[in-house]
Symmetry: C2
Amino acid sequence: MTRPSVTTPDALAQRLAHSGLRSTPQREVIYDVLLKKRDHPTADEVYARVRSDMPSISLATVYNCLETLVQCDLVRAVNFERGPTRYCPNLRPHAHFHDEQSGSTHDIDLPPDLLEKVSAVLPPGYDAKSVEITFRGKALPSTEPKAAANK
Amino acid sequence: MTRPSVTTPDALAQRLAHSGLRSTPQREVIYDVLLKKRDHPTADEVYARVRSDMPSISLATVYNCLETLVQCDLVRAVNFERGPTRYCPNLRPHAHFHDEQSGSTHDIDLPPDLLEKVSAVLPPGYDAKSVEITFRGKALPSTEPKAAANK
DNA sequence: AGTGATAATTAGAATTATTCTAAATGATGA
DNA sequence: TCATCATTTAGAATAATTCTAATTATCACT
């Protein structure tokens, strides 16, 4: 046979290729883990989850792959104070709400014009490439993330 | 004598007392350092500056005092990604602009209603105690902080 | 002024998250 | 198949911060 029916490159493979990078089993399983449970896991948490699928993966690879996904704009790295970096596959414009009681992080979708409106406070001479909005406080249990939608 | 003319407690001493804490030479000199050069120094930088006044101070004390000042709401701790925590004595509502070239941090004063407007995007069930807005990008040299006003 | 209780400071060890290094493995294309 | 380059890996190294336990300073009372 000349070519065994080419699998259509998925979004991940395409994005990676666009940056001259390869799709690898490690990158795929890590990205899947992030999509499956969108609770802003740390690298350690991702490591733990990935290991059930791929017990031989190393923590260094988890760090490497997460960094790669961030570079490709498939994932956002999120920080609260000096806590460990958390990873978020939600690409829509959104803010983060950090619940101080539970430690959980909630995505807050933003109306389309808000980031522009906020950026408008910058005096001349400032050119912002990104804006981050972070809330800290108390969230009612009813707000606990259920089935996050993306896409 | 019954009482040697009491020195009027300054803002620092009052704030500390309000939290049941004492004013100490270390706390004073650290707060002064922050007020004198408002370039969002790290704990290490504060340590270096304070040592010219008080060569015997320890780094642990610098961390302790900075934390104390933050607890008393005299100073804000500011973080960018996972970089070292920076300290800012500007108590007005403001955002931070992080210049990627120079690594410098600029305070961006916010119009009085902006934080409320931003908080208005929170769905019911979310009660935010604080809102943080951070810009990242390029700032023209003309925007380099000169003499920051506070008060 | 002396004394006990509490607060603050200190040096150095410990911790935590992350990055680095150098070697091994894997994929790609001539 | 071979050479090349990308990727993964284990473990060492790093950086910022926190912790620990001991010392020093201050306060409230007498």
